[in-house]
């Protein structure tokens, strides 16, 4: 106990600015108000986004979930990440060089709701264990989305309280015990103290392919599979999570196991219903690309330099 007491006292070494930053949240209700304000902004943004999508939804819908190979030389290499701006949504375009897919989507300025997340699906050819995904996540740090990831065995997951593995999978009618490997990821965005999400992912065999699904369920959280079906060419699972404090989060998982990708779109139940999440999913364009690892790195370096200059 003496040891930890010394450590507790040694926390006095934490720099003043770090103490003040946390203190602003702790004492001034800054965070709660900030989130409330952001929610209002998010509603407005979501409305604007849905309206904008509405004009193109049908056209996009027909092709959005289909993969297509861009013509040589016209591959969209851009990766845009505008500075945090409450007035307009950000466009985040991420290319996945190993899977040859790119996703382009709007991200609300507050970075909280909805959360768009592209997941790499492990398979026989592109597994987690070849480290490519780790490297990719590491690159993501360059455009302000710092990731951390570590591999956990199921036993290790057990010792983390509340990270009940497999709840979502089990509720989805799947046998979580067959999940071979678990991962946690931290998806943070630090501007103005905003933070988004941790999720736990498990490897899972589905229709003969190894896929991953988010499965983060704190104690006393009820998980309900709202719908299983399809959207475009993709398989779909819609899940509602009911938290003890009354909050409801909705998650839409869209995936094509044979293509090795999965997309999760999440939103606060207070703001987004599944119809809206589906509209957003329809507006996401998923492209096959010809990007190789080298061009990917070059591009990231370019963006990094651009951001630094900005």
């Amino acid at each position: 106990m003496l040891n930890s007491l010394v450590l507790l006292r040694a926390m006095n070494g934490i720099h003043e600015e770090d103490v003040v930053m946390a203190g602003n949240i702790y004492n001034n209700e800054y965070k709660a108000n900030h989130f409330k304000r952001n929610r209002i902004i998010t509603i407005a943004l979501a409305a604007a986004l849905i309206l904008a999508l509405g004009t193109t939804a049908y056209a996009v819908y027909r092709g959005s979930m289909n993969t297509r190979i861009p013509e040589e030389g016209t591959t969209d290499y851009h990766l845009l990440y505008s500075a945090e701006n409450a007035e307009s949504p950000e466009l985040l375009h991420v290319d996945f060089d190993r899977t040859k897919f790119a996703m382009s989507f709007d991200v609300p300025a507050d970075g909280c709701f909805p959360v768009f997340r592209a997941l790499y699906l492990p398979g026989e050819e592109n597994g987690w264990h070849n480290s490519s995904f780790y490297e990719m996540l590491d690159k993501a740090k360059y455009f302000g989305l710092p990731w951390e990831m570590r591999q956990l065995s199921p036993d290790q997951v057990q010792i983390i309280p509340d990270e009940t593995p497999g709840v979502l999978l089990a509720e989805a009618g799947m046998d979580s015990s067959t999940a071979k490997t678990w991962y946690t990821d931290y998806f943070y965005r630090g501007n103005n103290g905003d933070m988004a999400w941790i999720n736990l992912y498990g490897g899972y065999k589905l229709h003969g392919k190894e896929v991953i699904l988010g499965a983060f369920a704190p104690d006393d959280t009820k998980v309900e599979v709202f719908r299983e079906g399809s959207l475009g060419d993709s398989q779909l699972i819609e899940v509602q999570m009911f938290y003890p404090d009354g909050a409801v989060h909705r998650h839409l998982f869209l995936f094509q196991p044979e293509k090795y990708w999965l997309l999760q779109i999440s939103g606060s139940g207070e703001i987004f219903d599944f119809t809206e999440l589906e509209h957003m999913a329809e507006g996401i364009e998923i492209l096959e690309t010809e990007l190789g690892a080298k061009s990917y790195e070059d591009k990231i370096d370019f963006i990094h330099a651009d951001l630094a200059a900005g």
């Binding site: 106990m1 930890s4 450590l7 702790y26 509340d162 103290g193 933070m195 104690d219």
Partner: protein, 185 residues
């Protein structure tokens, strides 16, 4: 009243200094002390001692950030309080739980105070915390500087309790490794 004006009052040895400090930072310091001590009475005593200590320190000191300055004094007094009353395990407030958690950062139960001076440890922890991501840093500071409960942090950040615990679990692991790498324990 602006912090600078409050500090001026201390330097002028004005009686208003303490009342203005109490008005602005009374609740803040009380919450820190309460988190550590676990009782209102002890917390109140710690806060009063804080004002006295601040009165004795200013002048000569002129803190750049008054809240952090006062908070640090309160922490020290409160930690001394629970140490003196040896109520760490039972009835020691949120600090007892936080202390249990921090124990895992010290490999093999080594006594860090035997290996290096507390000041060195403070410096190392300051650097470690600065290197964390915003989220980790915020959660870590709330938990181990303000000694806020998991519930409180969860509500303030609108994160689930599981998420907070997970962040703390990982960050403590990092701290442990960091201290080992730096040969601080």
């Amino acid at each position: 009243m602006e912090d600078e004006m409050i500090v001026d009052l201390y330097w002028q040895r004005s009686d208003l200094a303490i009342s203005e400090t109490d008005k602005k930072y009374g609740r803040y310091c009380h919450s820190i002390a309460y988190n550590i001590c676990g009782t209102d009475e002890d917390a109140e005593e710690c806060v009063n001692d804080t004002w006295l200590r601040a009165w004795n320190l200013m002048p000569d000191q002129r803190p750049a950030v008054l809240s952090a300055f006062l908070g640090r004094i309160t922490r020290n007094i409160a930690i001394n309080c629970i140490k003196a009353k040896t109520r760490l395990k039972r009835g020691g407030g949120e600090a007892a739980i936080a202390l249990d958690e921090l124990e895992e950062c010290i490999p093999g139960g080594t006594e860090p105070e035997r290996v290096l001076e507390e000041k060195e440890l403070e410096t190392a922890i300051g650097s470690f915390v600065s290197g964390l991501s915003d989220a980790e840093r915020t959660v870590f500071v709330l938990r181990y500087w303000y000694v806020a409960s998991i519930d409180e942090i969860s509500k303030k950040l609108r994160f689930s309790k599981g998420k907070i615990k997970s962040i703390l679990f990982r960050t403590r692991g990092k701290l442990r490794r960091y201290l080992q790498e730096e040969k601080l324990c």
